[in-house]
């Protein structure tokens, strides 16, 4: 076994020991693609094997569906607790999974999966569990944890600390007037109230490529991690006429494709066209992705475009439709959390702006966009992002009694850009 594999296995065994131990809560910090889903599936299997029932709290319906498919695939008797409007996705294992809007409909299931919003409807006098599992515990807010915490005597929280912070439509100043911070992450709030809780980091990203993992680790994480894949394990093979940015990214993992500096509306048509052209080329040319399991043609499901705003998503999707390309995922950072693709094309959050804003500087946003890929990530941007970072006033309000964020958005953006400098390709 590789040393990365050994370190990963050791971390997994430590998690298992803790879960079987006496700690009231255990937190697992998982960088992008560190095997979090596998860990949850594996732990569920082991817990069921020792006779436990395992309730799992996830954050979105997509996450719940993915997890249920994986658990059912592992042969576990799984129930999907869902809301009224839920419809099963394509390929739903109807025969092997029980579904229901009420707990009572899922009797006999060893594992029950539902979103935090759905679990919040379960009353503690109905049933409680000795151990609950919370997946994506850094996407979940303290406000969501408050609504489900009473269901479980002990908790295992698993998540990626580099995610987008929980969001609210409410005015921040009003929320800050509270003596608590309900928009803290579930993991953060638990650690604050139970500082002795063990935190076990997963040390290896199996998703990111050897040359892309260090950039993500340095810019966005306080606990360093490495790539599990060896430098020779993966390769993207492109036709010779590929766009220079794709060719560069295939070789180096990164490319920063820069369009001429300009201040443009956020639906920048040139950026939309560039992204759509890159996708078109990726899915129509003969591209194969190679990993230790062998080479295979890159499919449309292997490619994603990450954007910042929903109107950008709409414009890119429409541009792809015009080019006859379907089946490629286009989505905003918050919806891409937890997903993985072979190649990701990312719209730089600060592209084409005159001034940066706190929203566009959020470390989690850039981190999510830049860490969804297995082979390569092409960041597409207008030139001039440095100038925006330079010009950004350090005027953020400071709330007494709160610690500064562990990863500062401005600093993370600067560090990321610096690391991408050697991969800069100028578009014409």
């Amino acid at each position: 076994m590789s040393s990365a594999g050994a370190r990963h296995e050791a971390a997994i065994e430590e998690v298992w020991d803790r879960v079987r131990g006496t700690d009231r809560a255990v937190v697992v910090d998982s960088p992008p693609g560190a095997g979090k889903s596998t860990l949850v599936r594996e732990l569920a299997k082991r817990l069921v094997a020792v006779g436990e029932h395992v309730p799992i709290v996830v954050q979105t319906n997509d996450q719940a569906d993915d997890l249920v498919i994986a658990l059912a695939g592992a042969g576990l008797s799984t129930g999907r607790l869902h809301g009224q409007d839920w419809t099963p996705p394509a390929g739903w294992p109807r025969q092997r999974v029980r579904t229901g809007t009420k707990l009572g409909e899922l009797g006999g299931c060893d594992v029950i999966v539902g979103t935090a919003a759905k679990w919040a409807f379960v009353k503690a006098d109905e049933r409680t569990w000795p151990l609950g599992v919370i997946d994506e515990a850094y996407q979940m807010s303290a406000a969501a944890l408050v609504r489900v915490g009473h269901l479980f005597d002990r908790l295992l929280l698993v998540g990626d600390p580099g995610q987008l912070a929980p969001f609210t439509v409410a005015d921040e100043h009003s929320v800050r007037s509270l003596a608590t911070w309900p928009l803290d992450t579930a993991a953060g709030t638990l650690l604050r109230h139970h500082p002795d809780t063990p935190v076990i980091p997963l040390p290896v990203s199996w998703r990111l490529a050897p040359h892309t993992a260090p950039v993500i680790s340095d810019a966005f994480y306080t606990r360093a991690f490495t790539a599990g894949a060896a430098p020779t394990d993966r390769r993207l093979e492109l036709a010779s006429l590929a766009h220079p940015a794709l060719a560069h990214a295939a070789e180096h993992g990164w490319a920063l494709l820069e369009l001429p500096a300009a201040h443009v509306p956020r639906t920048d048509p040139a950026l939309v066209a560039t992204l759509a052209d890159l996708v078109h080329q990726l899915v129509t040319a003969e591209v194969s992705t190679v990993d230790p399991s062998g080479p295979r043609p890159l499919s449309r499901a292997d490619v994603a475009v990450g954007v910042v705003h929903r109107d950008q998503k709409a414009h890119v999707e429409a541009a792809l439709q015009r080019r006859g390309v379907t089946g490629v995922t286009v989505d905003t950072a918050n919806r891409l959390q937890g997903r993985q693709y072979e190649v990701v094309l990312a719209w730089h959050p600060l592209s084409g702006r005159r001034d940066a804003s706190a929203f566009h500087l959020e470390a989690g946003r850039l981190c999510v966009l830049a860490s969804r890929h297995r082979q390569a990530c092409v960041v597409v941007s207008r030139a001039g992002v440095e100038e925006q970072l330079h010009a950004y006033p350090a005027a953020e309000p400071v709330w007494l009694g709160t610690d500064p964020p562990q990863v500062d958005g401005w600093e993370a953006n600067r560090a990321f850009l610096e690391r991408l400098n050697p991969h800069r390709i100028t578009a014409h």
Binding site: T267, P397, L400
Partner: protein, 318 residues
Amino acid sequence: MDPRRIAGLLDAPGCRRRQVLDAAQVDLGLLAEAIGAPPGGQSPYARERDGTFTHLATARLPELVGRHLGIDCDGAVETSELPVGAGLWVWRSPKLRLGGLPVTPEQIVLAGDGKLLHPVEIRSYACLDGHADPTKVAGTARELAVVVAALRQAAPVPERVSGRCLLVLPRNFGLAPVGTLLDVAPQVRRLSWSLAQLDAVDLPSALRLPQLAGDTLVSALTEVEARFGDGCPSCPMYTHCRQDAERSGTVARAGGAAANLCGPVGTAVHALALAHGERTPSGEAEQAISDELARAAAAYGWAVGGSGFAVDGKRGAR
């Protein structure tokens, strides 16, 4: 310069005029007089309160330092250099430097725990139920960052100067001092970056002369490009730049959102001509801006034109 002045570098790092104003250490009193700005300064009542609270809080510092930093001491000791060890010190009129700039606070209070030195700062804005005006706290944090950075520059072992400072404020409506730890690490990082940029600011030759005043000062500053935006009302040049912006008709006069959307389209007249189809956009960026504004203009026209469109699902026209 006092730390507040240097902290001003973080207010508008994108405005070259502001950077030059600070880099050249222009006298703000002379500047206000030259541009006809209202005199700033502090209300006599705020000053009195400040003095009274500082007096009261100083007497209570040993207790606060003990509670929040675990430092046992009887009272502040005068020092004229960076102290070592454990205790509480007052360093009056230190002559520090930050990069090439002189930093001359009236005094610095330092609490040492044997390993680290923590700056202590007394301010007189209220801390109500543990909550203080976040804008004021941010301002204090920026000034503390200047102190921390300047002390680190002076210290033989820079890491001994901690970024965790003790901020002392009056509690609620009274004058009882209450302490809170304030971590200024992010502000220190931003400051060191801003100072690196400042080295690159080339002062216009006119501003290298000491003590410019009146029209000479104004015209020397006006030579340098400004960037008008949302943060400008707190700048010493505000009233002057504002008038400039009004004369030129720049979109930035209407705020950052307008400037962000209009990008290279500089004036409101130009932007509106694009919006109303009275001008052909040149280049794709202008085309995009034109499309965006034209849709806004159409939507506005629809709304003020009093249409019969129904939005509420009820049948028939509104």
